[in-house]
Symmetry: C2
Subunit: 124 residues, 2 copies
């Protein structure tokens, strides 16, 4: 038998509602990177209205302000993550990194040897 | 903000196909516990035919024999897990336990303090 590939999906719930996931993290990261909700929406293939709705829904479910918008000025409006959102994105990123490491280690130690065992036992 | 609840879904793929999941583990565990594919199917709300199809599909995707059937005898037929399947079920169970522990630890250390921070910072 060849090796298996371990897979995991992680998310956070709050009050029974989904408040963080790969998708939501990506949206927040893109807002932080581009400084623009319009560009973040575009990069995810979402309309501006839909991306805005996602952010507002997430803010309501988290009970936390996620974005700070500045209208106008040179070059038009700018959207930045709030300090709490930056902290959440960074912490969730560290959480994901640790869980990826844990996945690989638990797989290697519990299942990796099993997956390779039949080949080792095969007649030569 | 109240605490978040970290959630995790785990599975194994092999050759791009799903070969282990909570659902598949439960089916194999029920076969082992009841010694009967019919009882295992019933407990999962599956028809016997569908449960049998699931087992055969899983065997094909894993390249491993999972069940051993003995027809007839006192009390009728009996279905048991193969030695390899018992080993896989046990190893996957240990893998899940470790990942649950890892989830709780990574959450507590990376996100648990963040989630409780706003309340600590709230005015008294």
């Amino acid at each position: 038998m060849e090796q298996f590939v371990p897979r995991q999906k992680l998310w956070l719930e709050h009050g029974g509602k989904l408040v963080m996931s790969d998708y939501r993290l990506r949206l927040l990261q893109l807002i932080a990177e581009t400084g623009s909700l319009a560009q973040a929406a575009n990069a995810m293939g979402l309309s501006y209205r839909r991306a805005w709705g996602k952010v507002k829904e997430l803010e309501a479910n988290l009970g936390m302000q996620l974005v700070q918008s500045e209208v106008g000025g040179a070059g038009g409006g700018h959207t930045a993550l709030s300090p709490e959102a930056r902290e959440l994105v960074a912490a969730y990123g560290r959480f994901l990194e640790r869980m990826t490491a844990a996945l690989n280690q638990a797989y290697a130690e519990e299942l990796g040897t099993l997956a390779s065992a039949p080949a080792e036992r095969a007649p030569r």
